[in-house]
Symmetry: C2
Subunit: 379 residues, 2 copies
């Protein structure tokens, strides 16, 4: 089997930034320059959610120019918040196709120059227009899921908040995180409502940021680095956009499907995973991810966080960088921010938040789990 | 070398349509159902320009659902008007990577529900925001190129109009074209100004439509069809978005670069091409494409149309379906509309507009030639 390798990764500081999207990409890219001679990059795939934030499309050529990489192949991939991991998936396909030897995956979003209302409207485009006409925003869709999950399985608002508490705790050791502030379950329960039962501290913030990953063929990887990370699996699956069309709204079918494909590609199972980066756009979704990745049985994911098993040092550490909740959630960048964290974890660069893991998984999704992207990496 | 094969193609009627984008995709997809069992499709790549037209992103999952193909891999690719050909390029990479056996490329755009002002604004996002702030619209950028080209090489407004006359003539035999009406050079010269020297009849229309292409590995292609078309080359290159940053605005450097790569991949040269589909968003651009594809020397492309050499029956027939100008230009669909035409031409399905070609080339571009995609197909 022709494998692809992750040979370097970079990330900007995440948060409320003054820089434009292209400047954030340049910041993230600088971090890979020790490992990679830019001239070796043959193709660039850029994950961006929305043209609205900067009134800009064509991010492929834009990024190629900003990085001094014209006239290389470059274009954009998109499935809302899954765009970042899709950029990596595209880079993996490009390398495995033999058409390019070294590819750059880029994820970026510049959101904070827009109002919360404008961002909510731009994100709402990730719902089927049919649902949009019914007035279901993205937070409302997650709120429906949370309510239904709690009723069906007995989870509580405290369990949801426990996810936020963990991710804020983890982010204390992440110098690039949007938030580095410990919170308590009470802080979360008392925070203002966003879409009841979800509160402000159940919700990932609106952030600016960029992340990049360099993917290479085996031959090129050997030339470029002594610490290549194997990309054992890269899988994508889809589900209906509309909340009303799913058999069970608490079950992220596309994530399950992508994870099953990824486990088959990699020849491993949930028990082999030592660290996970999952898509906690809202706290409820981290719990759903525990189940869809096979870390817990269906309907029992909330027990994992209740027992503290997903902290660093627990049975299966999840989001050691703080996740979307505390690291931040610049939409198009998020999937590659997850990969950046796995890269640090697997190559012994994670410092005080190290999990000592040698095999990790990342799940990035868009459109409330309607497009799921799962990667499995190992050293 | 692992080749990918085009095994089927479909296209909706192009024009001012009442249907939504997903309905247009279903219409185009019906045309491939004779050749392809939908269950054999493993991945879908969708080219769409803008989220503004239907307040919708996530076209991957949306299209997968509309075609009954959930939970297959599906996502969007974008580089403005090059999105359609990029969907094909992605499908080629997917098949060549060995990760999928059969992939579906989809291009679609639903534009006419918006006003001309809204469409112009959405397209302007394909310029670097720096140029947008200067007020340079996409038609204005092409107008600058036309003026400069005429001054530099001696072409006339009549030469530009001759491209429109040819493409309207060709579309008379295309039942799916947006316009089936012959025009004269005088009609064109007297049409109302869009961005002087470009007039209405120098300009591709705002259209709705969809096109699809099915790409398969050699093994799958043999199973699916007796008339597979070889995808000899699929190449992408980029140039600066900003008009002010190009050395010579009359030279489409990314198109030249993509064409050079494609000719190398295919092991052929311009003299081997028997039919071409080129990106005549404005008439001037068809002339630039003659030069960038190597059909004419730099600065001499206009002589080809002046001499009538790009008509069906001429030395090198260009846009036998009517091109963007007369077939129509639903932005994200255009690149695959070109591939649809090559498929018909190379498999003896082009009826009265047949060129009897066995090798053809297509060039699709976005952002005024800042992202170029070139495919070479042969039987």
């Amino acid at each position: 089997m022709v494998l692809a390798y992750l040979v370097a990764a970079g990330m900007s500081r995440i948060g409320r930034r003054e820089e434009t999207s292209r400047e954030l990409v340049v910041e993230a890219f600088k971090e890979v320059l020790d490992a990679v001679d830019p001239s070796s990059i043959e193709a660039i795939y850029v994950g961006v959610q929305s043209e609205v934030y900067e009134h800009q499309i064509m991010y492929g050529a834009l990024v190629a120019e900003a990085l001094g990489l014209l006239p290389k192949e470059a274009y954009r991939v998109e499935a809302c918040a899954a765009a970042g991991a899709l950029a990596l998936h595209n880079a993996v396909m490009a390398v495995r196709s033999g058409l390019v030897d070294v590819a750059l995956a880029v994820g970026v979003e510049k959101m904070t120059a827009k109002s919360t209302e404008e961002v909510t409207d731009a994100l709402m485009a990730a719902s089927d227009i049919v649902d949009q006409l019914s007035g279901v925003t993205i937070p409302a869709h997650y709120a429906l899921i949370a309510r239904r999950y709690m009723r069906q399985y007995g989870a509580t608002e405290e369990d949801l908040c426990a996810v936020a508490v963990k991710n804020h705790r983890h982010a204390l050791e992440n110098p690039k995180a949007h938030f580095r502030k410990a919170i308590t379950v009470e802080d979360c329960l008392n925070s203002k409502p966003v879409a009841t039962p979800l509160k402000l501290y159940d919700s990932a913030p609106i952030s600016d940021g960029a992340a990049v990953a360099v993917v290479a063929s085996e031959r090129a990887a050997r030339r470029l680095t002594d610490t290549p990370v194997k990309i054992l699996a890269s899988a994508v699956a889809t589900d209906t956009l509309s909340a009303s069309q799913r058999d069970d709204m608490t079950w992220p079918a596309a994530v399950w499907e992508a994870a099953q494909r990824a486990y088959r590609q990699a020849g491993v199972g949930p028990g082999d995973v030592q660290v996970a980066e999952v898509h906690d756009a809202f706290t409820i979704n981290e719990i759903l991810m525990y189940e869809a990745l096979g870390f817990a049985e269906r309907g029992k994911g909330y027990l994992l966080i209740r027992e503290g098993q997903t902290y660093i040092g627990g049975k299966i550490p999840v989001n050691p960088d703080g996740g979307l909740k505390a690291r931040g959630h610049p939409i198009g960048a998020t999937g590659l921010a997850q990969i950046y964290e796995l890269y640090l974890q697997l190559t012994g660069r994670a410092g005080k938040r190290s999990t000592n893991a040698e095999l990790g998984i990342a799940v990035n999704e868009g459109g409330v789990n309607s497009t799921a992207v799962v990667h499995i990496l190992a050293v």
